[in-house]
């Protein structure tokens, strides 16, 4: 099964609703591939993007490598402390025009903080995605994704295993996706909703 979306088209309806984030909620992503997952979601959310990362974080999004159309929509906030960071996330979630808020908190989110962010997201009708360390999530999150890059012997295939490991309203599933990060086009390797085990890449 192959879903291709040519970049530059009018925003088409999401071809793979399985990988879509529930709107107006805050989600979490962990694992080594979480930034790729965030960019994949950013490419699928229209409107301004806000990426909040601590001022001392060494890892920065690199503009020439971002999928097309993201660089000019991206606003980077670099608050100095954890309190400021959470304040920025809440403020950005409350702002109606923002399409997606991506944040990289350093410490585990408390239940209070997570709940406040959910309320802010509902108030502003904005989707949020927290890029967390392994196991540093909050129970208030809508879904949690474990994202890992996968190797594949075939050239020009960039596989990711994106597993939903927590879901408040639905099932947990796992997908292997071929998405190279250079365009909005991607390739969903196994058919959705058929396997409960992570699929082996096709050979």
């Amino acid at each position: 099964m192959r879903f291709d979306r040519v970049s530059g088209d009018a925003p088409a309806p999401a071809p793979a609703p399985a990988l879509a984030l529930a709107p107006a909620r805050v989600h979490e992503a962990e694992g080594r591939g979480r930034r790729a997952f965030a960019l994949f979601q950013a490419a699928r959310h229209p409107g301004p993007l806000v990426w909040i990362l601590p001022a001392h974080a060494p890892e920065m999004p690199m503009l020439p490598g971002l999928p097309p159309g993201i660089g000019e929509r991206l606003h980077l906030l670099r608050p100095a402390g954890e309190t400021d960071l959470l304040w920025c996330v809440e403020e950005a979630l409350r702002a109606a025009p923002v399409g997606l808020v991506i944040a990289e908190p350093e410490r585990p989110l408390s239940l209070t903080a997570g709940r406040r962010l959910q309320l802010a997201a509902e108030a502003g009708r904005t989707t949020g995605l927290m890029l967390i360390r392994q196991g540093a999530g909050s129970n208030a999150t809508q879904t949690r994704w474990a994202c890992e890059p996968l190797a594949h012997p075939q050239a020009d295939s960039t596989l990711h295993r994106w597993s939903r490991i927590k879901n408040k309203s639905g099932t947990c599933e796992s997908w292997v996706v071929n998405w190279n990060g250079a365009s909005a086009a991607f390739h969903l390797v196994p058919e959705a909703r058929q396997r409960h085990e992570p699929a082996e890449p096709p050979r």
């Binding site: 999004p61 020439p64 606003h75 906030l77 400021d84 920025c88 190797a151």
Partner: protein, 435 residues
């Protein structure tokens, strides 16, 4: 005189380069002060002021007293100035630059006749040509027929002569005062409650924004000064992510700052100023969802910038460099416009970039096995090399190790890394991570 000649004559000569903008600013300040003598004051050249004092001197007790008062005040301020009063602008200017004094009414020719012709604001060539003909003083010109004079020296000389003698009018064109964006309010009784201060601020904002709209400007920075009854002053200052003159949206940004101030025994005066304004064309209010979204985004950037600092609210802008660190700029979002990334055909770039981290236990070229961040990684596929040379015109400490050969390394463990090798001081580093 050339500087070298002057130094030869006087070796101890102290010289400073002329600071023309500051001189102009000082003259503008003096022009404002000179408004106490006349309603119309204009700058006259780079070193003079001209005031139209028609109907004014009797307020100071006559022309002599007015001039004496002016000279005394300037002297007290430490300024050596020469002043002159005459019936026309040209005559006063000429006399002030050649000793100063007062020309009585109706005695213009006698008053300025003894001055050299160069005092008439004519070109150096014309003055020299007149001197060669023996016409050294203004009095020599006054009785000559105008037509041959104009034919020989052009209409400029005759115009200046007529203006000096009053045959041609020459008004004092005072430049308009720059608009002042500041409003104040004093209260009969001190206030201290947050809603009271916000209500006072709302009234001030209405007036300030009306004035901004009149001059087609938008505020970029606003300062609210609150005077307390114990004559202390507290300040709240906000910045705006883009020029703005909407009272309601600006008041929302003040809320946090007003919340934090200490009102003491009460506040009895408020003053609101816009120290920084930018041109802002009139625009239709409530235009479309796109404009509303833009407004809401600017509000978000303003409120975030006021808390964490506008230098931490950034935008990525493309830059023209092959060096990965300099291939994009981090610019403050409040002072830059978004720019799309130009399409590039070169090798792929990673999505995240970090300062180079050395890898250890690298074996082979490109390394078949290496350790990075305490992970043991094995190469599955390597794409490269892409050689990037340092920009020799920048002394970048990160690039002191010389050339770099960049490789895209796909590992069997999953991560797809951007490694580089420095052939001039052999070592391997990780610089970024691909999606």
């Amino acid at each position: 005189m050339a500087l070298a000649d002057a130094r030869a004559i006087c070796p101890e000569l102290a010289t400073r380069p002329a600071d023309l903008p500051r001189e102009a600013a000082a003259l503008a300040a003096l022009r404002r002060w000179a408004g106490r003598y006349a309603p119309m004051v204009a700058t006259d050249g780079a070193d003079g002021l001209i005031a139209d004092i028609s109907g004014v001197p009797h307020l100071f007790g006559g022309e002599e007293d007015l001039r004496a008062d002016l000279q005394a005040r300037l002297e007290r301020a430490g300024l050596a100035a020469v002043s002159a009063i005459a019936g026309t602008r040209g005559a006063a200017g000429a006399l002030a630059r050649h000793g100063g004094g007062i020309v009585a009414d109706g005695a213009l020719v006698q008053g300025i006749g003894h001055l050299p012709v160069s005092a008439l604001r004519i070109g150096h060539d014309t003055a020299e040509a007149l001197a060669r003909l023996g016409l050294a003083r203004i009095a020599d010109l006054v009785h000559l027929p105008r037509a041959p004079l104009a034919r020989r020296f052009g209409p400029g000389l005759v115009l200046r002569l007529d203006q000096a003698l009053g045959a041609q009018p020459e008004p004092v064109a005072a430049e308009p005062e720059p608009p002042h964006f500041g409003v104040r309010m004093t209260l009969p009784d001190p206030i201290g409650l947050h809603p009271d201060v916000m209500a006072g601020l709302a009234r001030l904002l209405d007036r300030l924004c009306a004035r901004l709209a009149l001059h087609h400007r938008g505020a970029r920075r606003l300062r609210l000064e609150l005077r307390r009854v114990d004559s202390g002053t507290v300040q709240v200052e906000i910045g705006l992510a883009r020029p703005m003159r909407d009272p309601g949206r600006i008041a929302a940004l003040f809320t946090r700052g007003v919340d934090e101030i200490d009102a003491g025994f009460g506040i009895d005066a408020l003053r609101l100023t816009a120290p920084l304004t930018e041109p802002m064309a009139p625009e239709q209010t409530g235009g479309g969802p796109a404009a509303r979204g833009e407004d809401a985004l600017a509000d978000l950037l303003s409120s975030v910038g006021n808390r964490i600092g506008f230098d931490r609210v950034l935008r990525l802008l493309p830059a023209d460099s092959l060096i990965p660190e300099r291939s994009f700029l981090l610019a403050p979002a409040a002072y830059s416009a978004p720019a799309p990334m130009p399409p590039s055909a070169g090798p792929a770039r990673p999505v995240t970039l970090f300062p180079p981290e050395p890898v250890s236990h690298a074996s082979g070229h490109p390394p078949a096995q290496f350790r990075w961040r305490r992970m043991r990684l094995a190469t599955l596929r390597a794409t490269g090399p892409e050689r990037i040379a340092p920009e020799w015109w920048f002394d970048d400490p990160a690039w002191r190790s010389g050339l770099r050969d960049y490789w895209r390394i796909e590992t069997q463990q999953g991560p797809r890394l951007w490694l580089f090798h420095t052939p001039q001081s052999p070592a391997w580093y990780v610089h970024g991570e691909f999606a």
